[in-house]
Symmetry: C2
Subunit: 216 residues, 2 copies
């Protein structure tokens, strides 16, 4: 299922560390950072910071800390963010449209992002041909051609639940191996495909667990 | 930081199990389910299913499985979803508006949801007083009054990054202890407050890690 043995929980924290290092670098602070400080800024315990980074090599020195610029470059390499990577978004409804705007804004704000929203797709012929933030909306039939031409590596699925599997299949057949899935449905994909489900209602149900008993 | 020692990774998986049980119950299938089957349907390994549920009690019988109806009720209790819980959304921009619609639709679709979007807030006087899906948009000044009246327990923050801390503070002062944070900023909150950050760009950066090397 995974390309290696490193837990996804570790991978999930790497972008948090990278964001802290980006901020430090933006502020011109390229000196050393301790695992303690990196942990506090990223909201992760310092022991876990050291453990996470140790999976990928020896990036710091005991009692000295990590070199901000060096660690930042290493994390960008590990996360494949050294070169620009093209992303497609399928399903330009109200959620898809908001996601497109949100992502485009975030890309512009973040140095290390290097993910480029390169194509939009929708099944509605009335939408195909119009634009969102300058990016044209294309039909599902154009997926193979556009994926190949734009070198799309990741697709964001913001289509309705009953369309998600079909649209996912189209991208997988076109060679896309990474899916960020906003549709509230579990996708069936080959083992070589990585799906990150983002179900907003699951997040809320999880939060409900933490509502203090005494206040209910 | 937490109300108990059970890892958030465990809590995150409970809504996945609950969704599977909801679907089975909707299909009229209220018999037994094995941890194997529950795991496959939820996308979690069977050993992990057993381990997760064991934190909360003995819900199944070795070699027999779990009673769908019973386990469903127990999970609803654990997740505090037995009674309706009121949720507010702050920031009715394009993302907030899409989230409001998305959440409202999901609530209607899901039996066990029991989370009700009860109030919308925005700082823009031009928006205050208008409605989204029948829910009026209120000013930030109305937070204390509306939180108390509607018994709001969770807030979804979809405000810009530079407004997020102020809006979070307002809800925390009004007694809200659970925040689902879409703003790309780390919130400073008291220890009694639980923040679930949902940073869509972090998810994408994590996915980039899984883009197969040979295709780049």
């Amino acid at each position: 299922m995974r390309w290696n043995k490193i837990s996804d929980a570790v991978i999930r924290r790497l972008p948090l560390y990278l964001r802290v290092l980006d901020e430090l670098a933006n502020e011109g602070d390229t000196a050393l950072i301790s695992s303690q400080e990196l942990g506090i800024k990223a909201g992760v315990g310092p022991a876990l910071v050291r453990k996470d980074l140790a999976w990928f090599g020896e990036f710091g020195k005991q009692g000295v800390g990590y070199d901000v610029g060096f660690l930042r470059n290493e994390l960008r390499k590990i996360l494949n963010l050294e070169q620009e990577m093209a992303v497609a978004l399928a399903g330009v409804g109200s959620l898809g449209r908001a996601l497109a705007r949100y992502h485009l804004k975030r890309y512009a704000d973040t140095d290390s992002f290097n993910l480029r929203l390169a194509a939009l797709f929708d099944s509605d012929p009335a939408k195909v041909g119009s634009e969102v933030e300058g990016i044209p909306i294309r039909s599902l039939e154009e997926i193979p051609e556009v994926v190949a031409r734009e070198q799309i590596k990741i697709v964001i699925l913001a289509v309705p639940a009953d369309a998600a599997q079909d649209v996912a299949n189209r991208f997988v057949r076109a060679g896309v191996n990474c899916i960020l899935n906003y549709a509230p449905v579990k996708l069936q994909v080959p083992e070589t495909v990585q799906v990150a489900p983002v179900d907003l209602s699951l997040e809320l149900q999880r939060l409900a667990y933490y509502v203090p008993k005494q206040t209910r």
